[in-house]
């Protein structure tokens, strides 16, 4: 029951153009059978101020995270969450959000952990939809709950844990945080609260490629040629590489994970969601400060 893909020529060069839809496409397809639009924001109230008609809200903090363990919900929890929002296993899910789709990409990545097949991002996110003066409503979306199967989360393919990172040295790591966080001047993004990391710096050998480099001024993803220049020529990624991306809590690196996996077609990319809030507080893990990647620790 998959909804037709967006054949916009702007997406043609990407490895998996079916993972993106444009604002024009979405405006035309709102209400299509089988399509569910999801808004996922940093701000828990932004959806309530106005959202794309028919969109449901998924909050990263109160819904995708387990309330007790630092982990995501389990198979039963995910089934209850998305089924309750009227999302079926075969629904086409289009996700958009604030902050240039940080949390939308994060939600998309979590849907991927549960193997939801057809999940796409709205290129440009909430800001582009808004800038184009497109329709918003404060009308609550009412969707009938459906049965979503309980599928256990598969953390092996696209998720990395701290132990995986320690075993990964010698393979590329991408640090997507700001240059100040990378060098160790601060532990959080500029203009973000200082929180939850006892040490500052980066994981040895990680290349610094701030997430925003993948984004054009209007918030959409850059064309594939520019992305190649950044990640292949600039950061030295090559075909067949296993890559781990990280940031502070895994949301900005979900964005880069999306770029590497779906736009550039790398197959072995994992997101280390523990990221700096874990690494920067873990005991006896190696850390490098300064602007150079540094050497891999001797195993």
């Amino acid at each position: 029951m998959s909804v037709a893909r967006d054949d916009s020529p702007a997406f043609a060069g990407y490895a998996h153009p079916e993972r993106l839809v444009s604002t024009e496409w979405l405006a035309e397809h709102l209400g299509d059978e089988g399509l569910v639009v999801v808004e996922s924001d940093e701000d828990v109230l932004l959806y309530e101020t106005g959202h794309i008609p028919g969109a449901v809200k998924v909050d990263w903090h109160t819904e995708l995270n387990d309330p007790v363990t630092r982990d995501y919900v389990d198979g039963a929890g995910f089934a209850a969450l998305v089924g309750g929002k009227g999302i079926s296993r075969d629904s086409t899910v289009v996700i958009y959000g604030d902050k240039t789709n940080w949390w939308a990409a994060y939600a998309l990545w979590v849907f991927t952990l549960f193997g939801h097949e057809d999940v796409r991002l709205l290129d440009g996110g909430r800001a582009k939809w808004e800038a184009e003066g497109r329709e918003y409503t404060t009308e609550p979306t009412v969707r009938e709950a459906v049965d979503y199967p309980v599928v256990e989360r598969d953390d092996s393919a696209v998720r990395a844990f701290k132990e995986d990172v320690l075993a990964h040295f010698g393979n590329p790591l991408i640090d997507v945080r700001s240059p100040e966080e990378y060098s160790g001047e601060r532990t959080t993004a500029p203009a973000y609260p200082e929180e939850s990391a006892l040490r500052a710096g980066h994981i040895p050998t990680a290349q610094s490629v701030p997430w925003g480099k993948a984004v054009a001024e209007n918030g959409t993803f850059k064309p594939v040629g520019e992305l190649d220049a950044i990640y292949r020529d600039g950061a030295g990624l090559a075909e067949g590489d296993d890559v781990i991306a990280y940031c502070r809590i895994g949301e900005r690196s979900s964005h880069t994970w999306f770029v590497l996996t779906h736009l550039l077609g790398f197959e072995g990319v994992r997101n280390y969601d523990g990221s700096w809030t874990e690494w920067g507080s873990a005991v006896r893990v190696p850390i490098v400060t300064g602007t150079e990647p540094g050497e891999a620790p001797v195993k």
Partner: protein, 147 residues
């Protein structure tokens, strides 16, 4: 409910939140965000007088002043696309306005956790509001020390 002794305006806000369901609390917070009082003109023209609250993810700036009669006034500004932060600032601007210095300092820093928003908003986000109170108190301490 082991309610803390709060100033009347703040206590009323808390009771309003606690009287409704979790989903309704988000709506009420949204109403507060819409009602964040505009900055008085003398401050609007001088944004450098306001201090950024680093504990909040979204840019929110506050200034807490003590008038000649010894009453506290908190002014805040935050962008429209950060309604949660605006809502927090609005609760404080309205709930603390006009308190005496003693009454102001008696408000517990962790009062935001009494609003019944912990589940709907998450503890992490509420910590931003705790940060605003801490900063407001520091500003008042500084104002008293150097009038």
């Amino acid at each position: 409910m082991s309610a803390t002794e709060l100033p009347p305006a703040l206590a009323e806000i808390r009771d309003d939140f606690l009287a409704i369901t979790k989903q309704e609390r988000l709506q009420l917070l949204l109403e507060f965000s819409r009602d964040l009082p505009a900055l008085p003109e003398r401050l609007a023209d001088h944004p450098e007088l306001l201090e950024r609250v680093e504990e909040c993810q979204s840019p929110v700036f506050i200034i807490t002043e003590v008038d000649e009669a010894g009453h506290v006034h908190l002014h805040a500004t935050a962008p429209q696309e950060a309604p949660t932060t605006r809502g927090f600032a609005s609760i404080l601007a309205q709930g603390l306005d006009g308190l005496t210095i003693d009454a102001f300092f008696a408000v517990p820093d962790d009062f935001p956790f009494e609003l019944g928003l912990t589940e709907a908003v998450s503890p992490l986000r509420l910590r931003g509001m705790v940060g605003m109170i801490g900063r407001a108190k520091r500003q008042v301490r500084a104002a008293i020390a150097a009038p």
